[in-house]
């Protein structure tokens, strides 16, 4: 069915909100359920899509298939007891989750972080960003049907970073590294040299990636002009992270809040101008290059000293009654933890502001009018992790 043959009545804007059978259209609409078991929904995510031929007329995301009661469990745990659970929120980048939670508790209890610990946090945080973006680019290529090779390249880089995490924290994925007032362990011997070796290879990977794929005509045809997110919608829907920046919103919490020690590093914030899938892909590649710069500076300036504030009380940690919101620029966007303390050892209220979920809210707007095959890459470019969406 050609797209030109559609009568005006079935154009997406008029179809939203009406039942597929009672719509004004004389065309037959098809309701398709994508997921929860679908190879390209990045986990257990389901989309109820109403199609007119190949075109998306309506899209309703259904989630909750991975609702693991994170917030409720955290309210019955001690403050430190929730730290391992934060690893499992966005399970591709556990260290930034740790960081956001530690930041919120430090704000709540007024804990100072020693300088060396701040540097270590920046180093592991940026390494996390590198491997998250590398994975995303690989998965997005996989979603486009470029099966295997780009994902293998991405995972080759990711394994190198995971080796570093394992040497530092003892775990590949569930690192559980941050503590209130610092970090858990100091760098093992030779870790910085190993990191430098890994980082030296990264630009080569990015160059190779760009040469092979980014200028590829098929890829450009597939991604340019697809899933356009306007700047106004991005701002009004609260989109954050690389997705907002791809639409031209100059909003990076590392620059806005300058949390930790981010004011000491020189780095640029790449911005897109079209807000389509291609821009979102390119933003990730450019951000990886900026992260490499931050890592170089952080490793150069890394001071000696304690890695955890010696005054922090670990046992019987009871912050004074009050509330705090700590947020960081996680690889996927603004990750925030909102905590209310009533003076007891466990938080009275524990709320996560997950970037994946909020970035996902505009999915229908991005997909309307596009083909079924484009849903997959639009979803891939949003960069969701279901552990964080459903919590």
């Amino acid at each position: 069915m050609s797209t030109a043959a559609f009568p005006a009545a079935v154009l997406p804007t008029q179809q939203i909100g009406s039942e597929p059978t009672s719509g004004p259209s004389t065309e037959q609409l098809l309701e398709l359920s994508m997921g929860p078991q679908h190879p390209s929904t990045h986990g257990v995510f389901r989309m109820n899509v109403v199609l007119d031929g190949e075109r998306v007329v309506r899209l309703k995301p259904v989630f909750g298939y991975l609702h693991r009661n994170h917030e409720k469990i955290a309210e019955s745990e001690t403050y430190l007891g929730s730290m391992p659970y934060t690893d499992r929120l966005d399970y591709i980048c556990p260290l930034t989750n740790n960081w956001a939670y530690a930041l919120a508790v430090e704000k709540l209890a007024g804990i100072q972080v020693p300088e060396r610990a701040e540097y270590l946090r920046v180093i592991v945080g940026e390494l996390t960003r590198l491997q998250n973006h590398a994975c995303l680019v690989g998965f997005l290529m996989q979603d486009m049907g470029c099966s295997g090779t780009p994902l293998m390249y991405a995972f080759r880089q990711r394994e190198m970073v995971l080796d570093l995490f394992e040497a530092l924290t003892g775990a590949r994925m569930m690192c559980n590294y941050m503590r209130f007032g610092g970090c858990r362990v100091d760098l093992p011997a030779g870790w910085l040299d190993q990191t430098k070796k890994v980082l030296q290879q990264f630009p080569r990977f990015l160059d190779e990636f760009e040469r092979l794929l980014i200028g590829n005509e098929i890829l450009m045809g597939r991604t340019q002009g697809i899933g356009v997110l306007s700047k106004e919608l991005a701002v009004s829907a609260g989109i954050s992270g690389p997705m907002a920046r791809a639409s031209g919103v100059d909003y990076d919490i590392r620059k806005v809040d300058r949390y930790g020690i981010y004011d000491r590093f020189a780095f640029r914030v790449p911005l897109g101008s079209h807000g389509d899938v291609y821009d979102r892909l390119m933003i990730r590649v450019l951000e990886m290059r900026e992260s490499l710069g931050i890592l170089d500076q952080a490793m150069r300036d890394l001071p000696a000293g304690p890695i955890v504030d010696p005054k922090t009380k670990i046992r019987g940690f009871r912050p004074k009654p009050g509330e705090a919101y700590g947020r960081i620029e996680a690889p996927k966007g603004e990750l925030g933890f909102y905590l209310i303390s009533d003076g007891s050892p466990n938080p009275y209220r524990y709320r996560v502001r997950p970037p994946s979920l909020i970035n996902l809210t505009v999915l229908e707007d991005l997909c309307l009018g596009h083909n079924v095959a484009d849903i997959v890459i639009i979803l891939g470019s949003v960069d969701i992790v279901l552990g964080e969406v459903d919590r």
């Binding site: 929860p36 078991q37 679908h38 190879p39 986990g43 257990v44 909750g64 298939y65 991975l66 609702h67 693991r68 009661n69 409720k72 469990i73 019955s76 391992p84 659970y85 499992r88 399970y91 591709i92 994902l151 293998m152 995972f155 080759r156 990711r158 394994e159 590949r172 994925m173 569930m174 279901l386 552990g387």
Partner: protein, 216 residues
């Protein structure tokens, strides 16, 4: 089933004549091309993907062909937390797989609910609804652990016989090929378990009592 004498077999093999039994051939075919279902639930799925990548290279075990459709898969790797909302789909997917089919329960969550066991929405182990062949502990298990599970499963398949008590389930007319899909009840999944598959382990309490000496 009478097996071919091993010395005769190797003697024939040297002369270019290869002999085998139907059972060996059947098991060899099933062991060396286990096609898993392309199906990830949570964190463990990332380690499952890492296992298929170049570094760990699951292709060495003939299992790199992840099929998105259950109709083409032999093996279901339950990789991640099974929530109560997801459990019916998991059982349904298992029912849709053709026999012979196997299940690896990957990670603490799929075994018992793991760290999220106390949650109201988390199923306390997928073995309540479907039979599991291999369990891998870990949160998440390392890729090496998944490879170990594959090897354990392959050994298990290799030891199966076409006839007798140790035959695969689909060759046994008494064994079910489909398992009841749980429904959403008022408070919990209905039924809460499939008694044909799983029953709560009975704890034997000694009548004489334990005096702490280590001897009952």
């Amino acid at each position: 089933m009478k097996r071919v004498d091993e010395t005769l077999k190797s003697e024939l093999g040297r002369q270019g004549i290869f002999t085998t039994t139907l059972q060996d051939l059947y098991n060899w075919g099933r062991t060396s091309s286990l096609w898993p279902l392309n199906f990830g639930l949570a964190c463990c799925a990332i380690e499952m993907i890492a296992t298929t990548m170049a570094r760990y290279d699951l292709a060495r075990f003939g299992a790199e062909v992840f099929r998105p459709s259950p109709r083409q898969a032999d093996l279901m790797i339950v990789a991640g937390t099974v929530t109560k909302k997801m459990a019916p789909q998991v059982v349904r997917l298992y029912n849709q797989m053709p026999e012979p089919k196997y299940v690896i329960s990957m990670g603490a969550c799929a075994i018992s609910g793991g760290p999220f066991k106390q949650g109201y929405n988390v199923l306390k182990g997928i073995d309540r609804y479907i039979p599991v062949d291999v369990y891998i502990p870990g949160c998440p298990p390392r890729p090496e652990a998944l490879i170990e599970a594959f090897m354990a499963l392959q050994k298990r398949i290799d030891a199966q016989q076409l006839t007798g008590t140790n035959r695969p389930r689909h060759l046994n007319a008494d064994e079910p090929s489909e398992f009841a899909v749980p429904q959403f009840g008022a408070h919990d999944l209905q039924p809460a378990k499939n008694p044909a598959v799983w029953n709560a382990p009975l704890v034997q309490i000694s009548q004489t009592g334990n005096d702490g000496s280590g001897k009952n």
